[in-house]
């Protein structure tokens, strides 16, 4: 599994989201993802992460050992920069 594959899956599951995934060990199983989407507006962190996990579906349970997630609304993303 590579980072771009995960990026595509998240982007497909959350249309319009900005997704950036890094393979931080280079081993194809530990990833770090930044996901920016309007859909997170008004949602808590648990619900936001669940949306991303659902987009990854079975891959999350079987092929990805670890995914560090950062989920931001567009407004939060602007404030961070």
């Amino acid at each position: 599994m590579d980072a771009s594959e995960i990026e595509d899956m998240i982007a497909r599951g959350l249309p319009g989201a900005v997704v950036e995934v890094k393979d931080y060990t280079g081993g194809g199983d530990h990833f770090e993802a930044l996901v920016v989407s309007e859909i997170f507006e008004g949602k808590g962190l648990v619900e936001r992460h669940q949306l991303v996990y659902n987009a990854l579906g079975e891959a999350m349970r079987v092929r990805v050992h670890a995914l560090t997630l950062k989920t931001l609304t567009p407004a939060q993303y602007q404030n961070r920069r």
Partner: protein, 110 residues
């Protein structure tokens, strides 16, 4: 209801802070579990842990129970708080401490 499910519900009811993790607090078997217990050690409130590696049924059932695919999983006051990323984020922005303190103080005030 399965026995495992009952064990989960009983554990999160009995313990204000309950952590389902890989390994235990002295010997965490995964970096994310280690990072999580480290945060709770710093907060200094009592917590309980359950090792999912020594209990494959628990490992499967907790993922279904929380609708959450990864370990560790943290419950405070019987409520699912999240995994390592969320705990870290709540700790860094100062939201976690009042959650564990109010959980510890709730019975004392009543």
């Amino acid at each position: 209801m399965s026995d495992t499910r009952e064990r989960i519900e009983s554990a999160i009811k009995r313990n204000k802070i309950m952590i389902f993790m890989k390994g235990n607090r002295s010997f965490p078997q995964c970096g994310f579990s280690a990072a999580t217990v480290q945060i709770f050690d710093e907060l200094g409130e009592p917590y309980e842990t359950a090792d999912v590696l020594s209990d494959p049924e628990l490992r499967d059932e907790i993922k279904r129970y929380s609708n959450w695919p990864t370990i560790p999983q943290v419950y405070i006051d019987g409520k699912f708080v999240g995994g390592c990323d969320i705990v870290r984020e709540l700790y860094e922005n100062g939201e976690l401490e009042p959650m564990v303190k109010s959980s510890a103080g709730a019975s004392a005030r009543n």
